[in-house]
Amino acid sequence: MIRQPNAILGNNRLLVTMGKKGEIFGYYYPGRDFAQHVEDSQSCLYDGKGVIWSNSREWVADQKYIENTNVVSTELAHPNGLKMNILDYVHPRLPVLVRKYKIRSEKRFSGKFFYYSNLQVGEMKKKNSAFCDYDSGLVAQYWKNYYIGISSTPIFKEWQIGKAMDTIWWTNAKYDMEDGELQRNNEDIGNLNCAVGWNIDIDASKSADFTVYIGAASRRTTLYRRMREIQTETPESIYNDVQENWIKWLSKKKLLELPDYIGFETFKQELQAAFNRSLLTLSLLSDPIKGSFVASPEFDHEFEMCGGYGYCWNRDSAEIVLSLLRSEYPEYCSRFFKWCKNTQMHDGSWFQRYWLDGNTAPSWGNFSFSTQIDETGSTIFAMDQYYRTLKHPVKEEFLDSVWATVLSAAEYLMRRTADGVHDPCICLWETHSGIFTYTNAAIYAGLLSAANMAMDYNEKGLADRWTERAEFIKKTTIERFWLDEGYFARGITNGHLDTAIDASIMGTFVPFNMLSPEIPEEKAMIQSIIENIEKQLRVPVSDHFGIKRYVDDNYIEGNPWIVTTLWLSKALLEMASVIDHTAGETENREHRKLTHDALKYIQWSLKGTTSAGMLPEQVNKYTGRPAWAIPLCWSCALMLDNILLLDKIQRKINSSKKEIEDTGITYDIFRLS
């Protein structure tokens, strides 16, 4: 079933995705991509007549993060006066989710509190096994070397291991909860569900508190040890540790200098929060050992409506690690590029997408004509960007370690661009087959990046050869794909020039710098590309407009994307950042407009987040609500980039304030007209 989360949480060993009413949608252990062990896991109250599920329509939910942490607070209010507050956090070290429930009622409430789970341990519906060891206060379910355990404080009073889908329907725990009694059986096998329960009897002045622990392990003995260990700490002390850990991790970030944006009230605070949330999100979606990232926590496991997102694409990850690098988390780069070394194919390219452990993922890009060549260009480009930030002797060590990878990748790109544009392959959106402006720009940047590293590796001959090819690609791309209308064609599809405008042509400027804003002719080209994209790809919703990927986009209703919108705003800010706003009124006005326009797009993107602040891939074009993959790492990376550019611009302004004051020119660049 496709269910998009509203919040995510976790630690180095566990990832949990959650619906807006505190339902667990995904419980990933030990990887962020595999295995997802939970089909359904949530609480309900039995009021003597029937069960009130915590995700039933009547509850009004308010879910948010505790500031600067990956702790999720969910407050549910029922029209009958019941209130259920859930505080969810993952232990700092152990793969154990802590679910702290507080139940209140406006009037006396007598009944039961049940915690129900339909676990599919190891992503297996069948051949699971479950047992309740009541003496240890543990319900455990396992398949092969995956163990999931549920324990609680106070210890549950009743329990049931049930058949989730069987003709002996009265053993089904979900069904059996409806009479308010669980069967207290010990064990079962097959497709299972389970429930644990407590009596609850509160009046208006009191609350009932239950803490449910859901832990994971690869062995039964380890599970027992972990679930015992967590019981030795109080939920409050775990919470304090979790909070402290996240705040400490976040304290490493680059400190931002953002102004109060006139006309964008409270925006500075929103940007700070978005910056922090993007960092915290990305930290959860990376494999802490391997260095790879899932594009988004998987939500379409059956590939019902798309090809899935719970895998690592080099394209996405290259953008993500660079954003984290700029945010002063360079360790993600070093880990990811090591992963790249290990996953590179024999021909020097990278596969369409991978499992986080480096195995090739389910793919529709198994042939040279169906691969995505831009991913190889992006990887080498990002590698060089990181390399340039390193200092002696780490810099030389890094180059030594990746040189064979760079050489192999660059030669792959050379082999596939003999005509000055790349051989036919699949586009970055994985929609079209052919030759693409974006892919050529990525290859251009990849070859120049390889050339830069080759120069340092005393391989001038290779560097010259790769640079020459890069320039040939640039020249050919402009000659063949630049249109009189003032933008690049998408490329060649079905053997013909495809003049449809595609937001990815921004790649010629950002991030690949095939066009430079500091060369007047190229600056004019960039401006024209931006104007055409704004004109032709805008989708009005949420009091402004977002940018969709291309005309006639029919993937998930052709919504505007956060990615393309923040990509555009990033381009605007990159343009602004190279303008000397003190040079004169014209420059100042241009600088002001570019920044203002970018701010409007950023503001629009923030309106498209979930209530907890998760940045999605898309925004529903009718409602303005977050759509499809949530959260999307690429969106988070672009949000970081945008805010870092605003910071860069502000620092430049701050350093030139004196000059501005002397000349009498306003530096109030963000005032709305």
Partner: protein
């Protein structure tokens, strides 16, 4: 309960088929007056029904008539509406002369309902059996929920007790076109048999080596369990699709106090 209306018109090609929906004041002579009016106007009533069950003071008279092409139906309807007993008139042409619904949407057991052919239902089951793991368990869960839901609705509508709940079920199943049941159940021991003649599932399914009416078994289990507030299991022991004359569903109490691990270990005799 509002009942939908439809008809297949294979009548005079030279005539129009016109439907009327007449709301009237419910007197002893209202229906006769309206019927006489149509006779006077030479409009041949081909199919009709009356319904005054929702509000005893008002009735609804729905009919399909035939009239030679070109008749001024608007004037007739105006005249009809002026009758003392008539409250309002709606009318229209059944243009395609194949099927026509006057009341929409259809309601059944207090909920929106649709009509599907038995073949469509069986197709759904067949596809589930082919494509879905544990399809029998899934059909059981659906049947249980539907049976229990039907029982809850019936309990709201009529005074149900141990004596009449199976009779009411029989009427419901026949009205819905599922089949005709006979039953012999000891509600104290929770044992017995429900036999279903002309089960729509078995009829439509065709030949099979195994019983095919698991959905009906589960519906019966849900209905009976909800009515008796005791958990029963129902399994189909004979099925028309297997060559039996009727389908036979065996009722028994769900094992109480028996834990699944005992079953697995063979500790249960």
């Amino acid at each position: 309960m509002v009942r939908d209306l439809y008809m297949f018109s294979r009548v005079n090609e030279e005539a129009d088929v016109i439907w009327f929906k007449v709301a009237y004041e419910n007197t002893v002579h209202s229906e006769a007056d309206i019927t006489s009016f149509f006779a006077e106007k030479g409009l041949d009533i081909r199919f009709a029904y009356l319904d005054s069950s929702e509000d005893p003071t008002k009735g609804k008279y729905v009919m399909f008539t035939e009239a030679e092409k070109g008749r001024d139906i608007g004037s007739i309807a105006e005249e009809l509406e002026k009758m003392d007993v008539v409250l309002s008139v709606k009318w229209g042409y059944s243009k395609n002369r194949a099927i026509q619904s006057v009341d929409f949407p259809l309601q059944l057991l207090g909920k929106r309902a649709v009509i599907i052919r038995a073949k469509t239902f069986v197709d759904i089951i067949n596809i589930m059996n082919e494509q879905v793991p544990q399809s029998e368990g899934l059909l059981t869960m659906i049947g249980i929920r539907n049976g229990a839901g039907a029982a809850r609705y019936m309990q709201e509508m009529v005074e149900m007790n141990d004596d009449n709940f199976l009779g009411l079920l029989g009427e419901l199943l026949m009205a819905a076109g599922w089949g005709k049941i006979e039953y012999d159940i000891n509600i104290f021991e929770l044992t017995g048999i429900v036999r279903m003649k002309d089960s729509f599932l078995a009829d439509e399914y065709g030949e099979s080596d195994v019983p095919v009416c698991v959905y009906i078994s589960a519906f019966l289990a849900g209905y009976i369990s909800e009515c008796l507030k005791k958990t029963v299991q129902v399994r189909e022991s004979k099925c028309k699709s297997m060559g039996d004359e009727v389908c036979e569903h065996v009722i028994s109490a769900a094992p109480s106090g028996v834990k699944i691990e005992h079953l697995l270990r063979g500790e249960l005799h």
